[in-house]
Symmetry: C2
Subunit: 477 residues, 2 copies
């Protein structure tokens, strides 16, 4: 067995060598400026990446955005999270190495240790800028600026719900106290963001009045937060687009995932002109959390792979996720985008066949860009003869298409009883090839083949009893 | 300790009794027709559910849609899936009891056992209609109709990628063979759907030509499939809205989740006039799968809770998910909407305080509708005095607000070292209350309190040595 086949067998799947040109050039991202420069692309719009932003999306920031990574703030609100200082520093270092533009840290007003930890992370000299997230109070703001952060994120509830059941303040009061805190933070020469909470249940006029007022006093960013996790993509697009016309500062967005839209909402916010997205690793946060770092990366890579690859160390994603998963004692979800254990596994016959011919047919994320591998499972009842043929060629067996179709029927029959490993499939293919070549076996003689396969297995079994490694070697030779 | 407090302590969290009126009437779903009938709601649009569809969304089907549950088809393409007949029947029964309108089953052409299983499920007499999913071939169609299904779902790749690397057929050939298969299935008196594959990378004119042609010959549904999982919400809205103007039949949509948008895309498809959404339990399918059944339920519940509660047995969701998770040997993701272990856990002080005053502040899904419970964690460094005050009241301790704020500082200090369980918090509260009442302890005397707490613990410890249950009982009395 050749080395690559051996490696594949260990995974019970075929590893397809990844090639540079897996995504054909006509499907590479083309942004509107490139389309203008590139006559060919402009002349044939059908050949553009259909997932890239369109020239008509003049507000779109899908190729110009930043991450505010909140694992050390929102993530600390996750049910299982208790980060000691060392863990916080490890996570901060990993995220900075990954390349996120900002790290958001728990308020130094939360507890004595939170204050110390915030200071400590500021002293690490990370590439990422450090922000802390505080209530709209002067006491909190004074503590925040003492820690040495690069910026302060201020938040206050603006919905009728939160105004009634949380802080009980009216809009005039909110604006007045926001301006006091903003001017204080600005006087210290650092960044300041003002965010509403539960923005999608806030009165639109109240909300825009507050944002305009804080924009006028020179806030660096305003924030929209879907605190209850129920906003939907077109609603997000509309609100951000409206806000884009009201303020001149940057726009940050924060989305909870209670109804499964946190990644999509972040994307639509960027399409409407938002500039910063809050994420956490695996989405950890209050309840079932927020936009996941990995999900946002997958989404944005689809639109503009070169931009995403240029900004972030994508091969580190899995390491960062494993670090945080360990720290909060959860497993990486099996269906996680990019790093889920089967994110690049192909099984159905028609998928396997097309992927073997050209990986772009069923894959628009290139696994090698994330340090991942592609696998094709050909031992299930859903397999197809083209997928089997590719394996026959890898094993350098000389068979006609008719013979491959015939042996595929046999693999499906065996897989109806139990899924066949790559080893099982290889044995079937070798035994079939040996006897069809010697003339012992003809086409469509399943009973004869069953007999030959049983004989082979009993021989291999008795050899195995004597000297297992040698027998195995012989069987696979 | 009262029974409810004991139950809460077992979970290290406060269980908040759920009330009928958790979502105030002004935030209940109001659809456009109700708004017309209901003068008050129409006169005060700010008081409508902001997540409900708007009167201007005349295409929206967000209160009129059906599920095509594909765990037994798409789900069988999941890397870990091998369903024997018994498992398939259990899953089919559970999904039918849950209330999904359709079940989609693996093609009977996939293998001999697939054929037998399809027949068997059709004979179960389920409430859900049974569909099977086949390639656009007469051979497959003949096998499908033999099994006794209520309908046949036909699929063929229409993108230039799939036409080149998969089947190699042109559009004229696709239309011709589709019509032949559709007319054959219709002649048997059962439903038929025609779907393209990789619809978002197909040429729009080709796609619409095919759909119009099959609509004219009386197909029941056309299907759009984001086979590579990279479509985005506004793109989906645009394509479905365009298609809605071209065909008069129903529109089904199928979304993969490679870039984290499968639930959001399904929602936008319904907003644009789609009628049927494909789901699988936990989203299992090729690669990292498709729209999750639970995610879609969460999303649609937000828009119109009464409609969703009327159609589906929501309290069964967790059972159905556990059944499938066991069958494919995965864990339910920690961050799963609705059933993730922390989907209704609140931790930050400001969240806990507001949730205690009114659950709608940070929750728009009512946990009791899904047979779930709400938990509030007050033993972390992120806790707040209002959350602690609620626990003080549950324990019937008589303390002033100043005293509650003082003891909250102590809880934060302890939680900086390690997260405090509900038992720990209760002990702190009882010891504090006892000594502050007796006059031994004043406000802001942390050192004195540390001493008193240490004494209490050593007493409790020595009692515990003698007779643990009795000691515990005494401590909690």
């Amino acid at each position: 067995m050749c080395p690559s086949a051996a490696a594949a067998a260990a995974n019970d799947t075929i590893t397809v060598p990844t090639t540079e040109g897996a995504v054909p050039p006509e499907f590479q991202a083309v942004d509107s400026s490139a389309a203008t420069k590139n006559g060919a692309a402009a002349a044939n719009p059908q050949q553009r990446n259909p997932y890239a932003s369109r020239a008509s999306d003049f507000l779109s920031n899908t190729s110009n955005w930043k991450i505010i990574e909140s694992t050390l703030r929102e993530g600390e609100q996750f049910a299982n999270a208790f980060f000691d200082t060392e863990t916080k520093m490890k996570i901060a270092q990993a995220l900075s190495d990954f390349g996120v533009e900002y790290l958001e840290i728990t308020s130094p007003a939360a507890s004595e240790q939170s204050y110390e930890d915030c200071k400590r992370i500021c002293q690490m000299g990370l590439k990422s800028k450090i922000l802390t997230h505080i209530r709209c109070h002067m006491d909190d703001a004074r503590k925040a600026v003492e820690t040495g952060v690069d910026g302060v994120d201020i938040v206050i509830g603006t919905s009728s719900f939160l105004r009634k059941y949380s802080h009980g303040k009216d809009i005039t009061y909110i604006i007045k106290s926001a301006i006091e805190v903003i001017e204080f933070v600005k006087s210290k020469g650092i960044e300041v963001r003002f965010s509403s909470e539960d923005s999608f249940r806030s009165d639109l006029v109240d909300l825009l009045s507050i944002y305009r007022a804080v924009d006028k006093v020179g806030v660096n960013r305003v924030g929209i937060a879907d605190t209850v996790g129920c906003a939907n993509p077109r609603q997000v697009y509309d609100l951000v687009r409206t806000l884009r016309g009201v303020v001149s500062c940057d726009i940050e967005c924060h989305f909870h995932d209670d109804s499964g839209c946190a990644v999509a909402n972040a994307f639509c916010a960027l399409e409407a002109g938002a500039t910063h997205i809050d994420t956490s690793v695996l989405g950890i946060g209050e309840r079932n959390g927020i936009t996941t770092l990995g999900g946002l990366i997958a989404r944005m890579y689809v639109v503009d792979p070169e931009y995403v690859k240029g900004k972030y160390n994508l091969a580190m994603l899995r390491e960062v996720e494993n670090l945080v998963a360990d720290a909060v004692q959860v497993s990486v979800p099996f269906n996680n985008p990019i790093t889920g254990f089967c994110a690049f596994t192909h099984k159905a016959g028609i998928h396997a066949k097309a992927i073997l011919a050209n990986p772009s047919t069923y894959e628009i994320l290139k696994p090698e860009d994330f340090g991942m591998s592609r696998y094709i499972d050909i031992g299930s009842r859903l397999t197809g003869w083209n997928a089997v043929k590719s394996r026959v060629e890898q094993l350098e067996l000389d068979m006609t298409d008719e013979q491959v179709k015939d042996v595929t029927m046999k693999i499906k029959e065996l897989a109806d009883v139990r899924t066949q490993s790559m080893d099982d499939v290889d044995t079937v293919l070798r035994v079939y090839h040996k006897h069809v070549t010697s003339g012992k076996l003809g086409l469509r003689q399943p009973a004869v083949f069953d007999q030959l396969l049983a004989e082979h297995k009993s021989e291999a079994g008795s050899e195995k009893g004597d000297d297992e490694p040698a027998a195995k070697k012989a069987k696979l030779a």
